[in-house]
């Protein structure tokens, strides 16, 4: 945790206090967090920070910061990672991953190198594979069921600091 605090402090040395006994209410804006070397190259960095911030604007207090790294660490259980991954991929925060969310995910993944028809095709296939209750969008239960069969999920959702 001390190491994390060190990193948090590095991001904005003037604002972040070293002493937390008075429980100060300090939040770092999203721009500073996105530029951290561990997150800089991640296409989902915006969504990651927003998913962990209390006001869903992306401003992280130190508690949220620690939360984020603890979920993205090696010791976090799979269910927890799945819950937060669902939040990350849900762009419009309606608790469902609908087709537009999927399209945005895919665009971010491939940096817009797929043609629109291909994007639509892949999105349709994903919904076809994962949607269990047949409502055309993925609820958390569908997502969790699909993630449980993805062998690399745990290994890939890992950020080392």
């Amino acid at each position: 945790i001390c190491r994390l605090h060190g990193r948090y402090h590095e991001l904005a040395p003037n604002i972040v206090p070293m002493d937390y006994t008075n429980e100060p209410d300090v939040k770092l804006p999203i721009q500073l967090i996105i530029n951290m070397p561990e997150l800089k190259e991640n296409p989902f960095k915006q969504r990651i920070v927003e998913a962990f911030s209390e006001d869903s604007q992306g401003n992280l207090s130190f508690n949220d910061f620690v939360d984020m790294f603890s979920v993205l660490s090696e010791t976090a259980p799979r269910e927890l990672k799945a819950i937060y991954a669902f939040k990350i991929y849900d762009f419009n925060t309606d608790n469902y991953i609908c087709k537009s969310d999927l399209e945005k995910t895919l665009t971010k993944l491939t940096r817009e190198e797929l043609t629109p028809e291909e994007v639509t095709l892949v999105c349709e296939k994903v919904i076809e594979e994962a949607d269990l209750d047949g409502d055309g969008k993925l609820a958390f239960a569908d997502f969790e069921n699909m993630i449980s069969r993805a062998p690399d999920f745990l290994r890939y959702t890992l950020v080392r600091y």
């Binding site: 949220d64 819950i83 594979e129 958390f140 690399d152 999920f153």
Partner: protein, 686 residues
Amino acid sequence: VEEAENRETQDQDGYWLEDDSRPLKEIPLPMQGKRAVRDRRQMKIQIISSWESWKKSHLKSLKRFQLEAADVLSRMEVWKSSLHKIEGKFGTGIQSYFNFLRFLVMLNFAMFLLTAAVLVIPNIVFMTVDLQGWTLLNTTGMMENPDSKSGNCSLYNPTQEGLVSFYTYIMDLLSGTGFLELSYLFYGYYKDTDVGLTTAFSYNIPLAYLLTSLFYLLVSLIWLVRRSVQGFKLNLVSSDEALTNYSNKVFAGWDFCIIQEKATQLKHNSIHYELQMDLEEEAIREKIAEWTTRQKFCIYSLRLLLNLLVIGLLGASFFCIYIATQYSQILLNQDSVASSNFFLSLLVQYLPSIVITAANFTMPILFNIIIGIEKYSRTTEIKLTLLRSVFLRLASLGMLLFSLWTEITCAGDMDESDCSGCHYNYRRYPCWETRIGQEMYKLIIFDFITIVVVMLLVDFPRKILVQHCSCKPVQLWGQQEFLVPQNVLDIVYGQTICWIGTFYSPLLPLLNTVKYFIIFYLKKLTLFVNCRPANRTFRASSSNFFFLVVLLMGLILSCVPVLYSIMVITPSKGCGPFRTQQKIWDILPNSIEGLPRVTREFLFFIGSQAFAVPLFVLSCILLFYVVSLAGAYGQRVNLLKAQLQREEQDKHFLVKQIAEMGRANQKNNNNRVSFFSSLMKTVDKP
């Protein structure tokens, strides 16, 4: 992010957290929420007995101790920072290869410690220290029948007479002859005796030798199986890959570990490439499904022909290996070769290794060409090529051993003139176990030399060429790609040789440890300097399972010659710890004779049919039970899936019904209102 009111008492699925006893770590709330839950839990006054509270506190401290121990162990992991760097730059697929290499270094080192502690060090101590209290006894074994013709069998004198030139030393080092032959490196040096340490206890060298080798193979097997069970479970769960292919790639496709910009660009490219490949494969599959019968017939006959061609090619390479081994064995026994040109004799010594390596280089290229003609889908192509390469590697080793066997036992024909006296070819192989050990030793050294030479002469120049020459074909050829499957097959091949050879040469695990240690650093160097990351990434999870399966196959292959030579072939009469026995295995029954009566009876009972047959039947019953249980669970999963869909449809239906009833109610209300209003109007009218 939860709304403020819901945060404290409910999580996403609506579970009430006060009654939930999940560990705090697993609760999906921000820190404030977790702190509130913890406070609330602590405030709850629970009436539990003192036994319960003691158990709880004990469990907690145990868990904490386990966590700390795991933390300390992970910090002591070797090469952790190197693996981390590789992961960051090249992704987890290539990192899994290095992980596998590290596991093999650990395995070999542990095996070396085992053999050294039980076998080599006691022998060194007994040889060098000559204490009065220790007596060298002779083992009981079948004494030689003095009037048989086997007087020549125990002639064995590998030491060289006269002036030995410097070249000979290098030759000996490279081929395990000369000064290395009669050393701890090979089987032939170990004595056939009991060493009486105290009046009650004696160290039986032959027994120790046999038990160590068997134990070594058993421990490797257990370790491998334990490691592969986890990968097997994962593979089983994600077994229907066709059903989760796309969602897997989209949701679990991005590797959060990558932090370098160039690497992320490559990852984007690779995901894009994979998705495109999948879509193309889908299109190809649809096209294949629409083939006419005539086209199908053509393709199937073409595939049959090409498979026969592959079998023919494999047969040809095996025949070459057989001929090369026989030729080199014949030439080695002629003195003219030994005294001639240094390079010529080196060539003769290494002839089998050279032929095997040449086959392992050229055959995969031919396989790649052939598979292109066969028109399978991409995944099937990859699997089939891999299967063929694995078979080639392991079977070429098997072929070498088979040709050695025909030499040593005169192809099983005991009446041939060379073999009739001692049941093995004593003229050419006065100490055949040492000779097999030497062949394995040469294979390991040649394998190592090949890897180093390929790196120096192919990878480095290729990179220099690509960097400095800007002509089109060279740029198109590009830098070397780090091909994980081929590299894995290389090290599995090396490990199989080590497993086979350890019985005949107890110090081979040490050699292998050093070899893999150096290879780790060399491969890391070549990865960072010469290679570019591949377009298709090798999935880490499936690859782990694949590595372990191939290694298991290698282990099983290596058990066969060792067990065969223990049980069937007569040991050499001129050397080694088993020289007075008919078969190497006989030392075990002989030693059991010396045990107390109860132990002896018990051991005989375990080995008899009265025990083995019921055990076998029981195992079969257990197997059937487990298989049917798995089938039942699979059916249950399908039923539940169907039920889930039905429930959702029910939900839609009910929602529609409610909406309609609401509308009907509304209409009724409107009717009633209009009825009353019209009634009012008529009442109002005077």
